[in-house]
């Protein structure tokens, strides 16, 4: 069941990403799928986060019309990195969350870029620039969203306590 939820949420995230990106240009610099992965890695299960990364990546490729696997590879790596970071560091502070999510996003983009290079696909330096902007923007949004999740969780925990 939880993998079904995982798959459904991944699909939803990618669809939203596609639609939102077409409507608002800025959404092209927000990696919604990475937000989902970060949530799964930091709040749920690191193993499931790996699957979340894989599924969202494959769906992203499918929607983008890329050969399946590029984003899956990158997002899986990002999920693993975030999972590891959450294990070894306390990712509760905003700054460290910003850094961790930003680094994971960069890792994802860089791995895709390297894959493209390795497979002799056409690549542009612009890709790395856009990846950097995407990492910053995504990390920023992630910090805000995860703070919201924290607030919601603590409010819920307070409600339950009362």
């Amino acid at each position: 069941m939880k993998y079904l939820v995982l798959a459904a949420s991944s699909l939803l995230v990618v669809v939203v990403q596609m639609i939102a990106g077409r409507i608002v240009f800025l959404f092209n610099f927000l990696d919604l799928s990475l937000l989902l992965i970060a949530y799964w890695a930091l709040y749920r299960n690191r193993m499931e986060a790996l699957f979340a990364g894989s599924i969202t990546g494959i769906l992203l490729d499918a929607f983008l019309g890329w050969p399946l696997g590029y984003h899956g590879f990158g997002k899986t790596l990002a999920a693993f990195a975030l999972g590891r970071a959450s294990k070894h560091f306390t990712l509760t502070g905003r700054a460290i969350r910003f850094f961790a999510v930003g680094a994971a996003s960069l890792l994802s983009s860089a791995s895709v870029f390297l894959l493209l290079l390795a497979l002799q696909r056409s690549t542009e330096a612009l890709f790395l620039g856009a990846a950097l902007v995407q990492a910053l923007f995504t990390a920023l949004v992630a910090v805000a969203l995860l703070a919201g999740v924290d607030a919601y969780a603590s409010a819920r925990a307070g409600g339950v306590a009362e």
Binding site: L50, F51, S54, L68, G69, T76, L119, Q120, R121
Partner: protein, 282 residues
């Protein structure tokens, strides 16, 4: 209730899952993406990864096959070599036998011609043995009393006198060579007709005795039987003078070498009579 994995176990499992997922993604990519040359990447990768293994397996296979083939070939070659050696040995023996037969044929023909040229009856005989020792001075032949042989018959070859029969059995005889220390042959120097006695010296030569210092005997003179000993008919070649000088006393010191090659005798002729037939009997 599911058993919780230890943190370390979960870590290792997550790494394996990561590796598996990354591999799946790479596989997915490779199935779809084509290389610049147009080949599907998966095939190209498989080829790239598989080629060294294939090359290795082919090399190992070739080496093993080569080793096996060489081994079998070597085994075959060894057996063939043995067969060929055996064949060569057999052929060599046959050739040696053939050469020997040819030589024997020549000797026998020569002996036969010699026998036919003689006005005496004779029996050809095969030398079957030689007494132990280089200079033993006797030999054995395959003719005996059943062939008409008896003691004191002259034994000759086409080249000259060999000796005389001393012991005769029904199927074989012992021949005393003229070089035997006990042997003595009445001889003449053919050129001058001077008589003497040739005695065996126990070596390859004979000493010719009883020829006066005043007589002229030269090296190379032919010594023939005189017929005076009652064993050898007159005129058979005995040997040639190899040394002739004045002796200390009355007689010359004369050494002669047998006319027949006594060391390489194979066939001989045994004369069944000791003297030439009278002129009327011939």
């Amino acid at each position: 209730m599911p058993v919780e994995l230890a943190p370390k176990g979960r870590e290792i499992r997550s790494v394996w899952v990561l590796v598996f997922l990354l591999f799946v993604h790479l596989l997915l990519i490779s199935v779809q993406v084509r290389s610049p040359s147009g080949a599907i990447l998966l095939k190209q990768w498989a080829l790239t990864l598989g080629t060294p293994l294939l090359n290795l397996s082919v090399a190992v296979g070739t080496a093993a096959e080569g080793a096996w083939t060489r081994y079998v070939w070597l085994r075959g070659a060894r057996e063939e070599n043995l067969r060929l050696r055996e064949s060569v040995r057999a052929l060599s023996l046959r050739e040696a036998e053939y050469r020997e037969l040819k030589q024997q044929n020549l000797r026998l023909r020569s002996l036969l011609e010699f026998a036919e040229s003689l006005p005496l009856k004779g029996r050809s005989a095969q030398v079957t043995g030689r007494a132990p020792g280089y200079l033993a001075g006797t030999l054995l032949i395959d003719r005996g009393s059943t062939s008409g042989l008896r003691p004191d018959l002259p034994v000759v070859t086409a080249e000259g006198v060999v000796g005389r029969t001393v012991l005769v059995s029904p199927i074989g005889s012992q021949v005393q060579l003229i070089t035997n220390t006990d042997a003595a042959v009445g001889v003449l120097v053919q050129r001058t007709g001077i008589p003497g006695v040739a005695r065996g010296m126990g070596s390859r030569t004979m000493e010719v005795s009883y020829i006066s210092n005043t007589e002229q005997v030269d090296v190379g003179d032919l010594i023939v039987t005189s017929g005076l000993d009652g064993i050898y008919p007159r005129g058979l070649p005995v040997g040639r003078v190899t040394e002739s000088k004045k002796g200390n006393l009355v007689y010359r010191h004369i050494v002669a070498e047998p006319a027949a090659d006594l060391m390489r005798l194979s066939e001989v002729l045994v004369l069944l009579e000791n003297r030439w037939p009278e002129a009327g009997q011939q």
